[in-house]
């Protein structure tokens, strides 16, 4: 019997993998992909609760999350292109413009 907890555990695992990817990978594109994983973990949660509560509004929110993810990807990749054009770098540990 697959309960909500299974989905939640699955989502937790994916979330953790996404966080690890965000925190460890140097390539900014892979970091962005890891963020997509985190989004998907959230989406799984939303659908799982929608299923549990018999309420499809959760799925509506998934649509919104995907929209935001698309926007995020578009802007993020735009930034990556601009960054690469200016700095010739896409490794996050080489970009420290935020430093004092």
């Amino acid at each position: 019997m697959i309960t909500t907890s299974h989905y939640l555990i699955l989502s937790t695992i994916i979330l953790t993998i996404g966080i690890v990817g965000v925190l460890t990978r140097r390539n900014v594109l892979i970091v962005l992909m890891s963020i997509e994983l985190i989004f998907n973990a959230v989406n799984i949660n939303l659908v799982a609760f929608s299923k549990q509560l018999q309420n499809t509004i959760g799925q509506v929110f998934v649509v919104f999350v995907i929209t935001v993810a698309a926007a995020e990807a578009a802007v993020g990749l735009g930034i990556v292109i601009a960054l690469f054009r200016n700095k010739e770098k896409i490794n996050l540990d080489e970009i420290d413009l935020l430093k004092w």
């Binding site: 965000v22 970091v31 540990d93 970009i95 935020l98 430093k99 004092w100």
Partner: protein, 714 residues
């Protein structure tokens, strides 16, 4: 005419103001000098009208009964009534009016001042005509007339003082008239400063009078003083007041020890010397002493001092006059000497005789000065008698009038000076002041000697101005070439000798009038042995209403003694004249010979007994030393200790607070900065600028919140 009394001083003031304004306007705005005719018309006109008004006022005064010959007119209240605490503890209401008083004394003075002043104004037209400061000269001269008339017409001490200071100011302005000349400027300053010393005395006396009598009005003061006893044995308040007044008089009237300014005052234009330094202003001191007879006569000690100083000045100045070579200086010392006579008269208690001498002296001394001015002008601005001689034939009018003046001053019977001088001598003798009489008697001889020396050196003998050259021709200058002479500077030597010439009519006419005055002026005061009563003294009696009774020494009415005295003084005058004639005419002694034959005595006389040097050494240099000392004090103590010291202290404090600021305040700031630097050195490592380290921290934060949430919801 009495009601126009206030106009008499006002007219010259208005004239002065008018000329001054016109002159300033023309010179400053238009850039040209004012019209000379306009200037002297205003100036002479103002004085002429004042003179006529004076004569009218005197006439009106004379027509009053003898005892009522006082007229006072109040123009306005000057100092409103204020309470004043007197020395005796009482309170008085102190009030000063601007008021004029005409009584026989001031009548004499305004007559002398306006009449002689008028003549000198006329004379100045000729004398000053070529001068560039023509309008300025007349403005000053008119201003002087105003001041002098205010002085003699004032009915209280304060107005007298206004005039007193006014004439001092004008004297300064006119002595320094040729201010581009250093000696003239110095002489002006000298006169001003020496006069200040006397004025200080006068002011102190005035304050004493104010706090003693509670008023400055002559009538009130003298009436109050009339009730005071004579301070025969003691040196009382009256003695103090009169001594201070006399100090003022010595300054203004050039007595020992303050006479030194008068000879130097000859730097001014000659009409000024005549008007101010012979005829009018210098007599202000005598006038004041006569005016204050009620006070002086009650202070015998002061009287003794006045007489002593007067006679000492007379002989002293006369001896200095012996060998002066500058024609004007001889006259200046003669003036000092004659003023000494006047004070001698006052000092022996015969104020009327003193005033009589003022009156006659005004005529002949003005005459002599104007004559000397004429000589100087004729000689093209040469004042040294050593370069004159034989002028008689070049300047007959000047010669004649000056001879009259000289005879008058020498005391030849029948002329003005004889009556007044004789009166003084006899009163001194008759009053029992034998020593004073004797000295004055000697002085009379001296006067005759040095005045005739002047005449002989100037008008007789061989002309010395020609140098070796013979007089080429009689060149006749009809009028004075004043301006061009100034440019060329005196008599030309060598080539182109310019011969002396007679002065223009505007100068000769005043000379003639004054000569006539010098002859006739004395007859109003003929001695009582001729006219039974001395008209002059009778006329002046109301003035001496409050005078203390003079102690009678007997022989007062011994006409035979008086005639003997007269004979004696004529004798000594004649002796003096003869001596001068013998030395300077018969033996042809030249000024240069005097020095050779007399040596030390000559040096002593010629150098004025070195009084100026003594004053320089004792007073002026000491004053300078004091100044230097004060300067040193100022520099070392005030500047050094005070200013620089406080500066040093301030600087030290500043440096200290600078150190404090640098190490404590700045130190604290730097410490904070240093600490911030150290801490930031540690903490800035957190700021890696790497997105992932921030994300890491966010995660740590998430864990922390998660843990907290779980801890709280447990």
């Amino acid at each position: 005419m009495l009601k126009y009394l206030w106009l008499i001083p006002l007219l010259p003031l208005a004239g002065s103001a008018l000329i001054g304004l016109i002159g300033l306007y023309r010179v400053r705005v238009i850039g040209r000098k004012p019209n000379k005719t306009l200037v002297h018309t205003i100036a002479v006109g103002a004085v002429a009208i004042a003179c006529l008004l004076s004569l009218g006022a005197i006439h009106d005064l004379m027509s009053l009964p003898q005892d009522e010959r006082v007229y006072e007119t109040v123009s306005f209240t000057w100092i409103p009534a204020t309470p004043l605490k007197l020395t005796n503890g009482a309170w008085a209401t102190f009030k000063v009016d601007w008021a004029y008083r005409l009584d026989p004394l001031s009548a004499v003075m305004i007559f002398v001042v306006t009449f002689v002043g008028f003549l000198i104004h006329v004379y100045s037209i000729g004398y000053m005509y070529e001068d560039s400061g023509y309008w300025r000269f007349f403005a000053y001269l008119n201003l002087f007339m105003f001041a002098m008339l205010t002085l003699v017409l004032g009915n209280n001490f304060l107005i007298l003082f206004v005039g007193w200071e006014g004439v001092g100011l004008c004297s300064y302005l006119l002595i320094g008239f040729y201010f581009e000349k250093k000696s003239a400027g110095d002489a002006g300053k000298k006169a001003f400063i020496v006069n200040r010393i006397g004025d200080t005395g006068f002011v102190i006396a005035m304050m004493l009078i104010a706090v003693t009598f509670g008023t400055l009005n002559f009538e009130e003061v003298f009436r109050a003083a009339g009730a005071w006893p004579t301070e025969t044995m003691t040196w009382g308040l009256l003695t103090g007041i009169t001594l201070f007044l006399f100090l003022g008089a010595t300054g203004k009237s050039a007595q020992i020890p303050l006479y030194v300014w008068l000879p130097d005052a000859m730097e001014g234009p000659t009409p000024v010397s005549a008007l101010i330094h012979a005829a009018t202003m210098v007599t202000a001191g005598v006038y004041m002493v006569v005016r204050c007879n009620a006070l002086f006569s009650r202070a015998p000690h002061t009287m003794a001092i006045v007489a002593g100083i007067g006679v000492a000045t007379a002989i002293f100045a006369a001896t200095i006059g012996f060998f002066q070579r500058d024609i004007k200086r001889v006259l200046a010392y003669s003036t000092v000497s004659q003023l000494g006579y006047m004070f001698t008269a006052c000092g022996v208690g015969t104020f009327a005789a003193g005033l009589f001498h003022v009156y006659t002296h005004a005529f002949f001394k003005a005459l002599l000065f104007l004559g000397s001015g004429s000589v100087i002008m004729g000689m093209h601005h040469e004042q040294d008698m050593a370069k004159m001689g034989g002028l008689r034939k070049y300047m007959p009018w000047t010669y004649a009038t000056m001879l009259i003046g000289t005879l008058a001053i020498a005391g030849i019977p029948g002329l003005a000076g004889f009556f007044s001088k004789d009166e003084i001598l006899w009163r001194a003798y008759g009053g029992g002041h034998k020593i004073i009489w004797f000295v004055a008697f000697l002085t009379a001889g001296c006067t005759a000697f040095y005045m005739f020396r002047l005449i002989f050196l100037t008008f007789f003998g061989q002309p010395r101005f020609l140098d070796a050259a013979e007089p080429a021709e009689e060149s006749h200058h009809s009028h004075g070439g004043h301006g061009q002479d100034t440019v060329h500077g005196g008599v030309g030597h060598g080539h182109g000798v310019r011969l002396p010439h007679e002065s223009p009519k505007s100068m000769i006419i005043p000379l003639v009038v004054l000569a006539v005055g010098s002859i006739v002026a004395g007859y109003v005061g003929m001695p009582s042995y001729i006219t039974h009563t001395n008209l002059w003294e009778h006329f002046l009696d109301p003035v001496f209403r409050y005078q203390a009774p003079v102690s009678d020494h007997g022989g007062h009415d011994a006409a035979s003694t008086e005639i003997l005295m007269t004979a004696l003084s004529v004798l000594i005058a004649g002796a003096g004249i003869f001596l001068a004639y013998w030395i300077y005419n018969r033996r042809k002694t030249q000024p240069a010979d005097e020095q050779r034959s007399l040596g030390v005595v000559y040096q002593c006389f010629f150098n004025k007994y070195y009084v100026d040097q003594i004053y320089d050494a004792l007073i002026i240099h000491r004053t300078k030393d004091l100044g230097t000392g004060l300067w040193a004090f100022d520099r070392n103590v005030i500047d050094g200790l005070g200013v620089n010291g406080s500066g040093w202290v301030t600087r030290s404090l500043g440096r200290l607070s600078g150190v404090f600021d640098k190490y404590i305040v700045d130190g604290a700031v730097n410490l904070l900065a240093w600490m911030a630097d150290r801490f930031s050195y540690i903490f800035r490592r957190i700021q890696t600028g790497l997105v992932q380290s921030y994300a890491m921290v966010i995660m740590v934060g998430v864990i922390a919140f998660f843990s907290l949430y779980m801890y709280l919801s447990k």
